[in-house]
Structure formats: structure tokens, C-alpha cells
Amino acid sequence: MASSASGPQQHPLGIYLKIWTLLFVLSMFSYMVDYFDVQGVMRWTLVLLFMALKAGFILAIFMHVVWERMALALTILGPPMILLVLIFFMAVEGNYTEGARVQYLGHEANRSPLHVEH
């Protein structure tokens, strides 16, 4: 946690312009992942990496969390961590439901979506 000795009001403009540029570049990278049709594990890794970096920079710099006292920072970042448990439970539940649909209702799991006619 950086010191907020000077308070949030005295940051030089430069850091905002740098982060702004960085967000542009990261968004461009995210889009390139789709544009060049990267698939599979690589797609997930890259998309989630760029997402985490963008979210981190917005929170830390634009929303000043890095300059806040730890009491406020943990109030912001702590409670949402419980969502990881929800995500885990619902992923397990979703997999079970899909398995049941395939096994008992005869749904075909490996079809491809239809293409879009523009």
C-alpha cells in the first residue's frame, strides 16, 4: 500500500495519461485475440490476463485504491472474494446439470452453433 502522504489530489497528470495509454493497448490486444481467432487454452489465458490487468489498473490508479488506507482498500477488495466460492459452486452445479441433460434427456452436447448471415 503506497503512502497517501500527499493525498489523492496531487498526483501528476502523467500517471493518468500513461495508464490511459496502457488501457488502450491492452484493449487492442484483447481485440486482437478475437480478430486473429486465437482459440482454446491460449484464448482463455490471454483474455483473462488482459482483463485482469485492465481491471487492476482501473481500480488501482483511476479509482485511487492504491493510495487509500488499508482499512478502505480491504473493505472494497475483501467481500467480493466470496464470489469465488459462488463461481466454484455454480460451475460444479452447471456441469452436473449439463451431464444430466445429456445422459437422461438425450441432449446432444457437441453440436456447433449455426453461422450468422449478415
Binding site: M1, V47, F50, M51, I87, H107, R111
Partner: protein, 233 residues
């Protein structure tokens, strides 16, 4: 930390404990006084944003659950949101990419508005806040275009021509709720910008610009997750 007493003094009258990091964290919570040494409006905005995080998370986790649990194929976002210009071949996901850039640009102008607010540069603050609002309105306009396009394709909350029926429900629910937040943010920005312009905060300080900025950056933050999970993955 200890030097921030000027800010705290105007905010609450109680200076923050002279400790940082974990020690400061323990002192803030155990001092039996005020815990958050920020203006009350800022603390309340943060608490609102944390609760809003849970609402959006519920939508996104619900999206994950229906997408995992359906055996039907999920429509290809890259094709659904492709767009052709002047009769070119459709460029994949281009509209969403442009919307992302518009929103990031608006976050940048907002960050600058906060900075100029604390420098008490009223004119630049107001101009930058209005620019942010204009970019936000542009975003909503593009979203309306996107919605009308999908409605034209026959995407409904209960069906679509390409695959899993849940696609439409998730799309309208999540982007609709986010668009509502952007629309609310545009109105909020304009109201605060007008008050800044009229000198309402000349005496009591410009924290309100930062608080408005927190809301606006949050809307951008949510879009980062929607862009990744709904459009890219």
C-alpha cells in the same frame, strides 16, 4: 500518511492514526473512533459500488451457469457482433471494440477531470466532465444500435436463430443493466458538472468530482468483465 491530516480535517475532523499498512489497518478498526478517513460521501459511494459489484456478479455468474448447463451450442459472439462498412466483408466484433475504446476514453477524461478538480481548475474540470458525459452518451447510442440490430436478427430473450436460447436473455439482461448504469452516470455527471460550474463546491472542496469519478470508473470496470466474459470467451 500522517501528512494527510489536512484532507482528513476537512473530511471528518478526526485525523487518521499515524501508521500505515497493516498497523494502520488495525489501528483504524480498533481505535473505537472513525474507521474510514475519507469524506463520508466517498465511503458511501464505495459501499454502494461494492454492493453493485455483487449485482453484476450475480448476472455474470448466472450467465456462466446457464452457459455451462445448456447442452445446446452457444452462438458465436464474434460473428453475431460483426459489422460491415460500406459493403466490406463483416469485421468480427468491431462494434464492441469501438464501444470499448469509447468507454476507456471516457474513463481517461474522467480521471483528468478529477485531477483538475483537485487543482481547482473549474473550467477544465467542467469541460472534461462534459466530454465524459458525451462519450458515455455515445456509448449508449451505439448500444441502442447494437440492440436494434440483434432484434432485427430475431434475437429474443427466449430464442435466437443460432443456438442456445439463453443467449438472448443473458445479452439483454447484462448489457441492458450496464447500459442503464451508463445512462444514469451520464445524468449524474451532467448534474455534478453543472453544480461545479455554478461554484457550488468552491468552498466545500472538489471531492464530489472524485466520487462521481469512482462511479464512472466502476461502470468502465464492469464493462471490462462483460467484454471479456460475454463477448470474447
Amino acid at each position: 500518511m500522517s501528512d494527510s491530516s489536512t484532507l482528513d480535517a476537512t473530511a471528518s475532523g478526526i485525523p487518521a492514526p499515524q501508521a500505515d499498512g497493516v498497523t494502520g489497518f488495525i489501528k483504524d478498526w480498533s481505535a473505537d473512533k472513525q474507521t474510514y478517513h475519507v469524506p463520508w460521501g466517498k465511503a458511501m459511494m464505495w459501499i454502494f459500488l461494492v454492493s453493485d459489484t455483487f449485482i453484476f456478479s450475480c448476472f455474470l455468474v448466472g450467465y456462466m451457469t446457464v452457459r455451462i448447463s445448456t447442452a445446446d451450442p452457444w452462438p458465436l459472439a464474434t460473428e453475431v457482433f460483426a459489422l460491415s462498412f460500406f459493403g466490406s466483408d463483416p469485421i468480427p466484433l468491431i462494434l464492441i471494440a469501438i464501444m470499448t475504446f469509447v468507454l476507456i476514453t471516457s474513463s481517461g477524461t474522467m480521471a483528468l477531470a478529477v485531477n483538475y478538480g483537485y487543482r481547482k481548475d473549474k473550467k477544465k474540470t467542467v469541460i472534461l466532465m462534459c466530454a465524459t458525459a458525451a462519450l458515455g452518451a455515445t456509448f449508449v447510442g451505439m448500444q441502442m444500435y447494437e440492440w436494434s440490430k440483434l432484434i432485427g436478427y430475431g434475437v429474443r430473450p427466449w430464442s435466437n436463430p443460432w443456438g442456445a436460447a439463453q443467449f438472448g436473455a443473458v445479452f439483454y439482461m447484462i448489457t441492458g443493466f450496464h447500459g442503464l448504469h451508463v445512462t444514469g452516470g451520464v445524468i449524474y455527471l451532467l448534474v455534478v458538472a453543472r453544480k461545479v460550474w455554478r461554484g457550488h463546491y468552491d468552498k466545500e472542496g472538489y471531492e464530489i468530482v472524485e466520487i462521481t469519478g469512482l462511479y464512472w470508473h466502476f461502470v468502465d470496470l464492469v464493462w471490462v468483465f462483460i467484454f471479456a466474459f460475454f463477448y470474447l470467451l
